[in-house]
Subunit: 345 residues, 2 copies
DNA sequence: CTGAAAGCGCTTACAG
DNA sequence: CTGAAAGCGCTTACAG
């Protein structure tokens, strides 16, 4: 393995000078620089990152904690984070938040393996996260956020997204509305639900408790939840699912029961993952600005690595409704259209 | 930040003794060990990984290069790799093979950021991979393999998988068969196609050139390819898609054209990603042993990190046919059933 | 502008 | 069994 000392010998300079040429910042006479550059070339030198990290206290790596890789939203977010990190020349060290991953990730900051951490699935009772925050480690939350903690956070405006859906459905004459969601206590879906309820209220509608079904965030939960709604004597004419995966399950349940979408029931999801546009689902959904969220999260984290004292902020980026075939109308307000036929299930 | 020197002072021993207690291997008198252990506890010491890496020339991290995160197979493989790496207490540094990721990953070995690299999307003309192999860096290929290179490789037996599909379809009376695949030159799908052709040949059947459509590996490629097959006067009665994503696209195309699956056409995929079992697709497919592949790949890589001279091997793990609703029969041989009605498209 | 030197925080021969 | 010391490969004051 070739070291900066080897390069120095070839260039006929001191090892420190090689380091200066590499760093770019320091003043080096052009002739000297050229000799070093040539020596760098001939030796094929690559700096030892471990040594550099020890001296500079910067690893050039960022930790990312993702969960539920089974939800295709996370691979999307992961890709966006990976792209951004590559663009700012940072490496990505990845952990799964299921299992001991979160703790290992937090340890990695103290071990000087990463400079900071991006959490994508923060929950209130995540001890490792609390520990990281208590020790002042650079941490940013993206996607899921946590109220009342001092930490940079990035989310899309889930409340506004839920309102968009409510306004859209109410604006198209729906009066009997359902909700399929995940467990409580998760910021994203809680906020979407809150916005949805608020939007319905403003339209003079309410969300009957019997038309709200909660499960986990899997396809099967949407499937079972939708069955329950459609098995009723008084099923909803439109159902909002707080993420696309649940909506896919719901769509499949409707298919299995012979209930047509959108003729018999409208379906709206949330996330706009790529599958949402597939023919099988053709799902109206709320699109999160994933790339912008990832970019901002990384920028905030790196800023905090440089300055741990900067005041933390929570950022809510706007989301937009994407209308597809699972609802049969243009967005409310853009054009009027009659209410859909009520469900025949 | 607390160092091993701080721990030593608290314990009243030398810094070297702290290091010995930490390493576990060295002999330390029980009383001394206890004092160090207590000091470790009270100080909350965490070893600096950068310093350790510099001394030991082991980073405790493995690089993983994944591509096409848009194909849900890769998140599955990634999860399996992540799980295995966690189990052997290795960190995962992730790069996307699209863009400069592969080169950055290879550089990371020389930079001593990772001890070795797992490639999941090797292709013959990947210069960074060639470079890594030429320099003798620890590298293992999983999923996609490359013939004629000296490197540990792990794949499922794609050839046998393709044969399974051919035997199954031929055994159920299909005589006019189609193939939807990706571009040539990728080991996985090439081998599946080869096996499929061989299996058909053995059953006395051939694969007409006009019933073979190639695209990329996206949903839309399957969609367009299936349209072309179904638009023919003489469409196939069964179509093998060399991965599930293509099969989903094909399924959606059939749906759009009003062609029923499996009544009008049988559909078989490859991978058995979780979505394959969703109602919308209910896809007969070939299941790859992803966890076993990931486990083996990591074991091989770590073995090579310890001994770069060990002879490389290519491992092919068995795959199995999973029968679902996109074909209307139990596996050939298990029970006889008549041929399906021919396509009405 | 450049070199000699210190030091980042460990591990591991080398003595004793 | 334990300590003093060397050294992994860098960066960055400190002199000059």
């Amino acid at each position: 393995m070739v070291t900066s000392r080897d390069v120095a010998r070839v260039a006929g300079v001191s090892q420190a000078t090689v380091s200066r040429v590499l760093s770019g910042g320091a003043k080096v006479r052009p002739g000297t620089r050229d000799r070093v550059l040539r020596a760098l070339e001939t030796t094929g030198y690559v700096p030892n990152q471990a040594a550099r990290a020890m001296r500079t206290r910067r690893t050039g790596s960022v930790g990312v904690v993702v969960g539920r890789i089974t939800n295709p939203f996370y691979p999307e977010l992961l890709t966006a984070l990976s792209r951004k990190l590559g663009a700012v020349e940072q490496r990505m060290v990845l952990w799964d938040s299921e299992g001991p991953g979160a703790q290992t990730a937090v340890d990695a900051i103290r071990q000087r393996v990463v400079d900071g951490l991006v959490f994508t699935t923060a929950t209130a009772d995540l001890p490792p996260l609390a520990q990281a925050l208590a020790s002042g480690s650079p941490v940013v939350l993206v996607n899921r956020t946590l109220a009342g903690i001092s930490c940079d956070q990035v989310t899309s405006d889930n409340d506004a997204g839920g309102r968009l859906v409510a306004a859209y459905l109410a604006g198209h004459g729906h009066r009997r509305l359902g909700l399929l969601s995940g467990p409580r206590g998760i910021s994203t879906t809680d906020e979407r639900e809150t916005g949805y309820r608020a939007g319905l209220r403003e339209a003079g509608l309410s969300l009957p408790a019997e038309l709200v079904v909660r499960g986990e965030f899997h396809h099967n939960d949407g499937y079972e939840g939708m069955r329950r709604l459609l098995d009723r004597d008084d099923p909803p004419s439109a159902v909002f699912c707080t993420n696309d995966l649940i909506a896919f399950g719901a769509r499949d349940a409707a298919r299995a029961l012979g209930v047509r979408v959108p003729q018999d029931v409208w379906l709206v999801g949330y996330d706009d993952i790529p599958m949402a546009s597939w023919e099988a689902f053709d799902l109206t959904t709320v699109r999160q600005p994933i790339a912008a969220m990832a970019d901002l999260a990384v920028d905030l984290l790196l800023a905090r690595v440089e300055d741990r004292e900067r005041p933390p902020h929570t950022h809510r980026l706007p989301a937009e409704l994407v209308v597809r075939g699972s609802t049969a109308g243009v967005p409310a307000g853009a054009q009027s259209s009659g209410p859909p036929r009520s469900s025949g299930a």
